[in-house]
C-alpha cells in the first residue's frame, strides 16, 4: 500500500515539474506538487501515528502555521528574501538530520560518507541562505575577499585536523558542522548583490542535493527522487544565470565582483530632460520598449509602470517589456513584479526575442537597469562585463534613462549609453519619475 502511495507521489512530482513549464498550467503544478508532498509525508508515518508524541505534532502544527503566516504577510518586492529564507530552512533541516544519524547510528561506510556530505551541504545551505537574506535586505555590505581567500587556503589543513586527534568520534562531527557553517557565511558574504540570482538558484539546488543525500541515509526513494528533481532544476537555473552574465559559476562564487567604482569618468555631459519633454516624446512614438531593472524593485515603481503602460496603450502606442535574465535579485524577479500589477506576460520579452527589434523601436525607457544595457559589453575587451549578453537598447531611435544620478551600476564602470546623442537622462527616482511623466501626459 505504502509503495503505491509513494509511486503516485513520485509521478505527481514529475508531472508538477512538467506543468511548471507553461504559464497556463503553472498554477496546477503547485497543486500537484502539494498533493505529491502530502502523500509522501503521509506515507512516512506508515499508518502508525501513535509512535509520535505531542512535542512532535505541536512542532509540525506550529511551524506550519508560522510558514503560512510569514508567506502571506510578505510583500512581493521581498520575494527573493523569502525564497532564500525558506531555502535555508530546508538545507538546515537536512543538515540536522544527517548530524543526528551520524551521532546516533553506526552507519555502513557508504552511508557514512553520504551523511557527512549531506550534513556539510545542508549546513552550508543554511548559513549561506541566511547571509543571502541579510544581503538582500541591505543589512550586510560586501565583505572583503581577502578573508574568504585566507579561509579557503587554510581549509584543507582545517579539514585534516581531526585526523590528528585520537578520537574521530562525535567531537569531529561538530567541528565539521562548524566549518560548513563558516564556509557558508564567508562564501556568500563576499558575493555582491547583483550576483544574487546565481546565489539564490545555486543554494536552491544545494538544498535539493542535501535532501537527496538524506534520502540515501534513511533509505527513502521518494526523498531521493524529489531531492534529485530539485537539485537538477536548481542547477539549470544557476547555469542559465551564469550564461546570462558570461561568467562561470566558480567566478561568481569567488566573489569580489563589482560593488566599487572602477571607472566612472565621462568625456562629456549627458543630455538631461524633463517629465514634460518625455511625455511629448512618448506621445509621438508608435512603439515603446520598457527595460526594468533592480531600480524598479527598489523604488516599488511597478504600479506606476502599469499606469504609464495603460496611458500609452490608450493612445494606441505599442508597449513591450525587455527583461534581461539577471535583472533583479532572483531568476524571473522582474516578471513577477510586472505580473503583480497585471502586465500581460505576452508583453514581456526575453533578450533573444527582443534584441532584433530595438533598431525599429521609437523610444526605449530604461528603468533602474544599468550594466545589462551597457554597450561596452559588446565593444570593450578590457571591460569586466565584456562578452555578457546585453539588451541592445543603444540601437533604438531614442532612449530615455530614468535614474537618480550618473553613478555606475554593479560592475562599477561608466555606461557610454548615457552620453549617446539619442539618449536623454531623466534624473529621478524610478517611481517619482514615472508619476511625473504620467501627470505631464494630462497636460499634453
Amino acid at each position: 500500500m505504502i509503495e503505491i502511495i509513494l509511486l503516485v507521489s513520485s509521478v505527481l512530482f514529475i508531472f508538477a515539474l512538467k506543468l511548471f513549464g507553461r504559464p497556463s498550467t503553472a498554477h496546477r503544478a503547485n497543486t500537484f506538487a502539494m498533493l505529491a508532498m502530502a502523500l509522501a509525508v503521509f506515507s512516512a508515518f506508515n499508518f502508525d501515528f501513535s509512535k509520535y508524541d505531542s512535542a512532535f505534532y505541536i512542532t509540525i502544527v506550529v511551524s506550519g502555521l508560522l510558514g503560512v503566516l510569514i508567506s502571506k504577510r510578505v510583500q512581493m518586492t521581498q520575494m527573493p528574501e523569502l525564497v532564500g529564507l525558506f531555502n535555508g530552512f530546508g538545507g538546515g533541516a537536512s543538515g540536522a538530520i544527517a548530524y543526528v544519524e551520524l551521532s546516533n547510528n553506526a552507519l555502513v561506510m557508504s552511508d557514512f560518507f553520504v551523511a557527512i556530505f549531506s550534513m556539510v551541504i545542508g549546513v552550508f545551505t543554511f548559513s549561506g541562505s541566511i547571509i543571502a537574506v541579510l544581503k538582500l535586505r541591505g543589512k550586510l555590505n560586501n565583505v572583503n575577499t581577502t578573508i574568504a581567500n585566507i579561509f579557503s587556503a587554510f581549509l584543507p589543513p582545517l579539514i585534516l585536523l581531526p585526523a590528528i586527534w585520537d578520537d574521530m568520534e562525535i567531537l569531529s562531527l561538530e567541528y565539521f558542522m562548524l566549518l560548513s557553517l563558516i564556509a557558508g557565511i564567508i562564501r556568500v558574504a563576499v558575493i555582491g548583490g547583483a550576483d544574487m540570482p546565481v546565489v539564490i538558484a545555486f543554494l536552491n539546488s544545494l538544498s535539493g542535493i542535501a535532501a537527496m543525500s538524506a534520502g540515501f541515509i534513511v533509505n527513502s526513494i521518494i526523498l531521493i527522487v524529489a531531492g534529485a528533481l530539485v537539485g537538477a532544476s536548481g542547477i539549470i537555473l544557476t547555469l542559465l544565470m551564469c550564461a546570462a552574465m558570461n561568467r562561470t559559476l566558480l567566478d561568481v562564487l569567488k566573489g569580489g565582483f563589482g560593488g566599487t567604482a572602477i571607472n566612472n569618468e565621462y568625456e562629456k555631459d549627458p543630455i538631461s530632460t524633463s517629465p514634460e519633454d518625455v511625455a511629448i516624446q512618448l506621445s509621438y512614438a508608435e512603439s515603446v520598449v520598457i527595460v526594468p531593472g533592480y531600480g524598479m524593485a527598489v523604488a516599488q515603481a511597478q504600479a506606476a509602470v502599469k499606469e504609464l503602460t495603460n496611458t500609452l496603450k490608450d493612445k494606441n502606442i505599442e508597449v513591450k517589456f525587455a527583461i534581461h535574465p539577471v535583472a533583479g535579485r532572483m531568476p524571473g524577479h522582474m516578471n513577477v513584479l510586472l505580473a503583480e500589477v497585471d502586465i500581460d506576460y505576452e508583453d514581456m520579452f526575453t533578450l533573444e526575442d527582443i534584441n532584433s527589434e530595438f533598431s525599429s523601436t521609437d523610444v526605449v525607457i530604461v528603468l533602474g537597469a544599468n550594466d545589462v544595457i551597457n554597450p561596452l559589453a559588446r565593444t570593450d575587451e578590457d571591460s569586466p562585463i565584456y562578452g555578457m549578453p546585453i539588451l541592445d537598447v543603444d540601437l533604438a531611435k531614442q532612449v530615455i534613462v530614468i535614474k537618480r544620478s550618473m553613478s555606475p551600476g554593479y560592475a562599477g564602470i561608466a555606461n557610454p549609453l548615457f552620453i549617446n546623442d539619442n539618449t536623454k537622462m531623466l534624473f529621478a527616482d524610478a517611481k517619482e519619475g514615472l508619476e511625473n511623466i504620467i501627470k505631464s501626459f494630462e497636460l499634453v
Binding site: G231, G332, V336
Partner: protein, 95 residues
C-alpha cells in the same frame, strides 16, 4: 546490499535526468515560481525527520535537534508552497 545501492544510484541518475530535461525549456517568466516551487519540494527532507524521530532513543539533545529539523522542513514546505501559490496567482489573473 550492493545491488540495492546501485539501483538507488540509478534512480537518482534517472530522476536528475528527468528534472533536467523537464526544466531546461522553461520560459524566463516562470523562473521565480519554478524556483519557489522546487524550493518548497526540497522541504521533503521532513520525511527523513519523521522516519528517524521514533528511533532517536534517550538523548534529549538529539531529540531536540530532530524537532528543529522538523520545524525547519515544515516551514520550508508550507511556507514555500504558500508563497508559490501567491506568485502564481498573479500570473493566473492575466489569463
Amino acid at each position: 546490499m550492493e545491488a540495492t545501492f546501485l539501483l538507488t544510484l540509478l534512480i537518482t541518475f534517472l530522476a536528475s535526468f528527468i528534472g533536467y530535461e523537464l526544466i531546461s525549456k522553461i520560459p524566463q517568466t516562470l523562473h521565480t515560481p519554478l524556483m519557489s516551487g522546487s524550493n518548497a519540494i526540497s522541504g521533503i527532507t521532513l520525511i527523513a525527520a519523521i522516519l528517524i524521530y521514533p528511533e532517536v532513543g534517550e538523548s534529549q539533545l538529539l531529540k531536540i535537534i530532530v524537532l528543529i529539523a522538523i520545524a525547519f522542513a515544515t516551514l520550508n514546505i508550507v511556507g514555500g508552497f504558500s508563497v508559490t501559490g501567491r506568485i502564481l496567482e498573479m500570473f493566473k489573473k492575466n489569463d
